[in-house]
């Protein structure tokens, strides 16, 4: 066991942060949101710096790739980072660029990035089918991403037997994005509570808030290490489901609690909190919410058919 970053991991994290300082952050997220909702420049910068190839680098590998997902989510980067950094490399699809959506083939719910031209990975229990995607009908939503209805175009590739692996890395990607976004939202909220004076003292001095913030930190921290462990293990089902169930639960709590503690200001577009919370909320719904993941975990753990 070793919970410290290796030298490579440390260097990778520092490098990622340097790229994100230039190409991501809350101001950039707002700019992108006002246009397509997709940050092609950020994607290009990550490709150019080599961070989307890390999964195949024996020194970096899937743990470093998971760290990348967390960091991009924390910097409110507007790309499907989990799909780009974890799912595509796990499937060996290294040449796919641009908006990539991911969905179950029978999904009639809104899909992240499905309103944009690009590709979609359709993941079922057996195979992964890669389709070109014409821009689908835009779905009106305030929840952090460009959403569309799935309108798959021609199928360009079918990966037999890749469904389970794709699903596992997809789940893990969602967990890592939630961990990153929730950590950033928590940090913003703590800063606010340390400075917001009411009743002649900072709100952060109130024990009722301190206990809830501490409890939330414990849940995010647990989710973070479970996510890294699952990546380190190569995404076996049970380990991934533990991480995702925990992260999705923590994410839901984070959305509720951080907004409650940020008051009316926290609900405004002008304040940054929504840049993370709206995405957490979407991510937590994408795979079906806590009970669905908890059930899947129980079935994996106790071998229920």
């Amino acid at each position: 066991m070793d919970f410290d970053l290796t030298e490579t991991e440390q260097a990778v994290r520092d490098g990622i942060r340097a790229v994100l300082d230039r190409h991501a952050g809350v101001d950039r997220a707002r700019e992108v949101e006002a246009r397509s909702g997709y940050d092609a420049e950020l994607e290009a910068a990550l490709w150019d710096a080599g961070y989307l190839h890390m999964a195949h680098d024996p020194d970096a590998g899937m743990v470093a790739a998971t760290m990348l997902v967390e960091e991009v989510a924390a910097a409110a980067g507007s790309v499907p980072i989990g799909t780009l950094a974890l799912v595509l490399p796990a499937l060996g699809l290294d040449d796919l660029r641009g908006p990539v959506a991911i969905a179950r083939p029978d999904s009639d719910a809104p899909v992240r990035y499905a309103s944009l031209p690009g590709h979609v990975l359709l993941v079922d229990d057996d195979e992964v089918a890669v389709h070109e995607m014409a821009p689908g009908a835009v779905v009106d939503s305030l929840w952090g991403y460009p959403f569309g209805r799935l309108v798959p175009g021609p199928c360009v590739l079918v990966l037999d037997g890749a469904g389970p692996s794709a699903l596992a890395w997809w789940r893990l990607a969602v967990a890592a994005e939630i961990v990153g976004a929730a950590g950033a939202g928590l940090a913003l909220t703590i800063d606010h509570l340390n400075h917001r004076m009411q009743f002649g003292r900072p709100l952060g001095a109130l024990q009722s808030l301190q206990h809830r913030l501490a409890a939330l930190r414990v849940r995010i921290e647990g989710s973070r290490w479970l996510t890294y462990r699952a990546a380190w293990e190569g995404a076996p089902d049970e380990s991934v489901l533990v991480a995702t169930a925990q992260a999705v639960g923590a994410g839901r709590t984070a959305v509720r609690e951080l907004h409650q503690m940020s008051g009316a200001m926290g609900l405004t577009d002008e304040y940054d909190l929504h840049l993370w919370t709206t995405r957490i909320f979407s991510l937590a719904a994408e795979l079906g919410g806590p009970p669905v993941l908890q059930q899947a975990l129980a079935r994996a753990r106790w071998e229920v058919r």
């Binding site: 066991m1 070793d2 919970f3 410290d4 970053l5 290796t6 991991e9 743990v63 703590i190 509570l193 340390n194 003292r201 900072p202 952060g204 001095a205 024990q207 301190q210 206990h211 913030l213 501490a214 409890a215 930190r217 414990v218 849940r219 921290e221 647990g222 989710s223 290490w225 479970l226 890294y228 462990r229 380190w232 293990e233 489901l241 533990v242 169930a245 925990q246 639960g249 806590p290 009970p291 993941l293 908890q294 059930q295 899947a296 975990l297 129980a298 079935r299 753990r301 106790w302 229920v304």
Partner: protein, 380 residues
């Protein structure tokens, strides 16, 4: 990052498992899921002696005191194996984890000779005389007095919730030796033999196991000043160091996980495990157990690297309590009224989890510490 065990650590785990298989009596009665993970039992002294003979009881101690300097990770592995089998060391885990180390650090040569050897052989039970009726979370408010009288201290006062007091030979006692000094300054640690005249033990029946709670009264109990550990009035320093070791985090997630597996088995036998609500409840608790496990490992990693007690120790304790509660709640939901039967999985886990958030520093105190030390919020 690295989430696997080394070959050396795996070998150590096997060695402990094998030793325990030899040491446990054939009619070993406590299961891993019993109430009160570390109760004294008639067999626990025998098991501790047998582990001592195998070199495992105090393997974490330095060689000069009979140990082999086992690493922090080996200590944790040992504790995991013990909890998997119902903690057959009984209360002696306290000797190993923090009382012995406190004596090594602060004791005189004579105290080390006299007190450490019996611990290392597995033949002695200690209790911890900390809490008082008016000093719980606020330990520094303690009022038990030890007044100097020539070469003796005369102890008067009352300790409460003291586990194992009925079986213990010694009490690791906190008493006020300078009533005039500020709260934390006038406290000393005394090693008090429990057969000292004037020491009275009364068992307090409770929900959390027959041997868990006692009241210990001290009425003019006279001990020589040579029983004092460390300098007079410097007890707070010793306690801080000792509690840092105590809070290492017992691997209570092991028991919670085993209870959960047991409840899943119970549900399967009754055809309930295919119910989606049952799966969701059990899955939620399973995730909480694994989060607790990793956060205990996270805290242990700091200790293994010699960084001392970090705020992650508090994170780990909160997560462990969360996991114990999640397992209890899921077990009670799934078993329904079957969980009311004494000794059933849900009954045991419910009662264990009720104590888990209180013993050795309450849940709320841990949250306070996380808020100030990790989140940088103002101290309340």
């Amino acid at each position: 990052m690295e989430f696997g065990w080394s070959d050396h650590e795996e070998a150590f785990r096997s060695r402990v498992e094998e030793a325990l298989a030899r040491c446990l009596p054939p009619d070993w009665s406590r299961s891993a899921t019993s109430v009160g993970g570390s109760q004294a039992s008639p067999e626990s002294n025998a098991v501790a002696r047998a582990l001592a003979a195998d070199g495992l009881l105090v393997c974490s101690w330095p060689p000069e005191f009979g140990g082999e300097g086992a690493s922090r990770w080996e200590q944790l592995i040992l504790a995991e194996v013990m909890w998997r089998h119902g903690e057959p060391r009984g209360p002696q885990y306290m000797n190993v984890n923090w009382i012995g180390p406190a004596i090594m650090q602060f004791g005189t040569e004579e105290q080390k000779r006299e007190l450490l050897l019996p611990m290392a052989r597995g033949g002695v039970i200690w209790c911890q005389g900390f809490s008082e009726p008016d000093a719980g979370s606020d330990l520094a408010a303690l009022r038990t007095r030890a007044d100097r009288d020539g070469d003796d201290y005369v102890i008067n006062g009352q300790k409460i919730w003291t586990s194992y007091a009925g079986d213990a030979q010694y009490c690791f006692l906190l008493a006020r030796t300078d009533p005039e000094a500020a709260r934390r300054r006038g406290i000393s640690v005394l090693v008090v033999p429990m057969d000292t005249p004037g020491v009275e033990v009364r068992r307090i029946p409770s929900l959390v196991g027959g041997h868990a709670f006692h009241q210990v009264d001290f009425v003019d109990a006279r001990v020589p000043t040579s029983v004092r550990l460390g300098e007079e009035n410097e007890g707070w320093t010793i306690v801080r160091s000792a509690l840092a070791n105590e809070r290492v985090g017992l691997p209570r997630y092991i028991r919670a996980s085993l209870v959960l597996d047991g409840v899943a088995g119970w549900a399967r036998e009754r055809g309930l495990l295919t119910e989606t609500w049952v799966q969701a409840r059990l899955g939620e608790a399973r995730a909480a157990c694994e989060a607790a496990r990793l956060l205990v490992y996270r805290a242990a990693d700091d200790q293994a690297k010699g960084r001392g007690a970090s705020a992650f120790a508090y994170v780990a304790r909160v997560a462990v309590v969360d996991a114990e509660r999640a397992v209890a709640d899921a077990s009670v939901d799934v078993m329904g009224a079957h969980g009311l039967v004494l000794g059933s999985l849900a009954d045991g886990q419910m009662r264990n989890s009720m104590g888990g958030g209180i013993a050795s520093g309450t849940y709320e105190v841990q949250l306070n510490l996380i808020a100030s030390e990790l989140l940088g919020l103002p101290r309340g």
